[in-house]
């Protein structure tokens, strides 16, 4: 092979091209020829290497030097300085800024990364980088070697289930859509990730958009459809622009569009932005939103596979589901099925959040225990506090106490325990968390996000929130717990869509596992975790107080009185429970009762 001592990557992204990248490239080549260096220095065209805002730009290896703001006239200088004399042309140098990834750190030993394998590793804005990682080879394999039925069989054997949370077998869904009469058929990717604190899908879309695009193309081939939509929320502008760029690059290469890879399979994609309504993550509401209607769910059946988008057969899967597909095709169903439990195969991404040492994105094989996730992958509870509960499945999931730490994380086990898999939110809570307050927080979210179409969800979530607010304010009454239970049951059974059906879950699960906390709030007017402000009071221990006056000076409402060097006292009627006195006291004299 020809040996070059130096390689120059010239960005020919449309943006750089419009600024004259080709002129720079030509001038560079001319100068290299003129200096007799063309046999030593290789010039390569590439897509984005930087932001393109300072284009045209080039990257020189092996030094890894990034030059920007170039004009054709500068090439003579750069060639003489850099390539002939070996001096870096500082005038055009762009400094390399190192970025610390707070969301996604290096995998821990218990993790297996399939969906996240390329995130942070490849350049998501450069299709070549994805192709270097065997990108689009799965699509090529499917189009050249497999029939649509083969694809469905392979995915069936892999045991892949819907990663949006419900866990319906993916291949079964595809075969329904394939068998369904009616044309055209549509394919949708649900990228309306809305659970508080969850960002697994965003990270995949931003870090490896082509995995989703390729997965969708394979699904489209299996189902027999030619048009797909990615429904992504407007709150994810980077994901949307990365996807659009990815689709554009795939189209330019002929990996999307008419007659892909010279076969008679054609498929194209479009990104549709949602305005951020949580209910639009529900499939029927999502389709209504794509159609341009108000994002409200409708009763099922008919299921989307029979009558979906514009009344046509439609297949809808989550981002993570599609991102798994190319790997299953390339490495085989047996490889994928070797991970996980009997009924839940493969891996799952989670956004680990809350009071755990290492928060962020993780990907673990299904069947791992909650304990392994929290203590091995997450590093345990922050500040050496105790573990109290873990909330899985987002606002529709449930809170599981320490008895469930050894529970296997799979679809069935989580549902049996009163929680659910969900899309992958996982909030860990330490022993200073009030479970009534947590239930109230999630209920506030679902109440706010209820679309209002059906009464049980619209009115029921409001009533539950009212009761929880009352309990937290110290005005809980005898009978509240029973009322909550009854309301929860009715909302769960009578609501139209998954949002309402799942909304009472945080209340039901906390009532099941932490009933004593509700009772303490209602009957003893005490918050055991000392969180609910109406149920706690701050006091100064006379024996510890030195009369330094720091607390009195810092109290924002003037609730603390006392002489210098004398014991201070907090007036509970004036106190707003802000806790500042406790923070500023140097003698640990302020306590919460």
């Amino acid at each position: 092979m020809k040996f070059y001592r130096s390689h120059v990557l010239v960005c020919i992204d449309p943006e750089c091209r419009s600024k004259g990248a080709y002129e720079v490239l030509d001038a560079l080549q001319d100068e290299l020829v003129a200096n007799g260096l063309i046999d030593e220095v290789q010039v390569l065209e590439t897509s984005r290497i930087g932001g393109c805002d300072q284009g045209p730009e080039i990257m020189v290896y092996p030094e890894g030097v990034h030059y920007a703001n170039l004009t054709p006239d500068d090439m003579a200088f750069i060639v003489e300085e850099h390539f002939l004399k070996g001096r870096i042309a500082k005038k055009f140098l762009l400094p390399i800024t190192s970025v610390v990834d707070e969301e996604l750190s290096a995998p821990t030993p218990k993790e297996i990364r399939i969906v996240l394998r390329n995130c942070g590793k490849i350049d998501p804005q450069n299709i070549e980088d994805y192709i270097a990682e065997d990108g689009y080879m799965a699509l090529a394999k499917v189009l050249t070697e497999m029939t649509p039925e083969d694809v469905i069989d392979e995915v069936m054997k892999s045991g892949l289930r819907g990663r949006g949370g419900a866990g319906f077998p993916t291949a079964k869904k595809w075969s329904f859509a394939r068998a369904s009469a009616g044309t055209p058929k549509y394919l949708i990717c649900n990228a309306d990730e809305g659970d508080p604190g969850a960002f697994m899908n965003r990270r995949v879309l931003e870090g490896d958009p082509h995995a989703v695009i390729e997965g969708m193309a394979i699904a489209a081939y299996a189902i027999g459809c030619n048009q797909g939509y990615i429904y992504c929320r407007a709150e994810y502008p980077i994901a949307v622009s990365t996807l659009r760029l990815g689709i554009q690059q795939a189209r330019e290469m002929g990996l999307l569009g008419q007659n892909i890879l010279g076969t008679d399979f054609s498929f194209d994609l479009e990104v549709r932005m949602g305005a951020g309504a949580f209910v639009c993550g529900e499939e029927t509401a999502l389709m209504a939103s794509i159609e341009g209607k108000r994002g409200e769910p409708r009763p099922r059946p008919p299921f989307p596979a029979v009558s979906g988008l514009w009344g046509k057969p439609t297949n809808i899967n989550n981002v993570e589901t599609y991102a798994n597909v190319p790997q299953i095709i390339l490495k085989g169903a047996d490889w994928y099925a070797s991970m996980g439990t009997e009924k839940s195969k493969g891996t799952k991404t989670f956004a680990l959040a809350g009071d755990v040492k290492h928060t962020g994105l993780i990907e673990v094989p299904l069947g791992i225990t909650l304990r392994e996730i929290i203590f091995d992958v997450g590093g345990g509870i922050k500040d050496n506090k105790g573990f109290k509960a873990v909330q899985t499945g987002g606002p529709m999931g449930g809170c599981l106490p320490s008895e469930y730490l050894d529970l296997s994380v799979d679809y069935e086990a989580l549902t049996a325990a009163g929680s659910m898999m969900g899309s992958g939110g996982m909030v860990v809570m330490d022993d200073e968390t009030c479970m009534v307050d947590i239930a109230r927080f999630f209920m506030e979210f679902t109440q706010d996000e209820s679309c209002g179409k059906c009464t049980p969800c619209r009115v029921g979530t409001r009533r539950i929130l009212d009761i929880l607010n009352r309990i937290c304010a110290g005005k809980g009454e005898d009978g509240d717990i029973e009322l909550l239970e009854q309301l929860s049951q009715e909302i769960r059974t009578n609501s139209l869509c998954g949002l309402g059906q799942g909304a009472p879950n945080p209340v039901i699960s906390t009532l099941k596992h932490f009933r004593h906390e509700y009772e303490a709030h209602i009957y003893e007017k005490k918050c055991p975790a000392k969180v609910c402000k109406a149920l706690i009071r701050y006091e100064i221990l006379p024996e510890a107080c030195t009369g330094c006056t720091v607390c009195a000076r810092n109290c924002p409402v003037g609730a603390i009185t006392g002489e210098r060097r004398g014991v201070h006292v907090i007036d509970s009627d004036i106190c707003v429970r802000c806790g500042i006195c406790q923070q500023v006291c140097n003698f640990n004299a302020v306590v919460v009762r």
Partner: protein, 122 residues
């Protein structure tokens, strides 16, 4: 951007992309630095470098990075070539003719034998 019309096209693009990736990640086991100041070029550094590059190409020797530097302040000893293999200390050669340059690659870089006659003690 190249268009993919067949599986072969895709494979070719993958190979090219992998090659570009290698270029970016290149961490040579051996670094050869040719001093390429005006003094070096006048004394024949370009010829020395060409000899090195040609040999690497014809013998297909992997893992070598060839870079340049400016005048290192020993103009009377030019052309100067510095070699660093792995973690070993850097060796500086003076008055490197194309013939010596080829020996440097063959004997020092490949076989690990320093050509003592031409070393500039530093």
């Amino acid at each position: 951007m190249p268009t993919v019309k067949s599986l072969e096209d895709l494979k070719r693009i993958r190979e090219e992309a992998l090659q570009k990736r290698q270029v970016k990640a290149a961490s040579g086991e051996a670094n050869i630095v040719v001093a390429m100041g005006t003094c070096g070029i006048a004394a024949g550094a370009r010829e020395a470098m060409k000899a090195i590059l040609n040999l690497i190409e014809t013998e297909n020797i992997p893992g070598i990075i060839v870079t340049q530097t400016g005048c290192i302040g020993l103009c009377e000893r030019e052309p100067i070539v510095q070699v660093q293999v792995g973690e070993q200390p850097k060796v500086t050669y003076g008055k490197v003719t194309p013939e010596i340059a080829r020996r440097i690659v063959k004997e020092h870089v490949v076989e690990g034998k320093i050509i003592e006659d031409h070393v500039i003690p530093m």
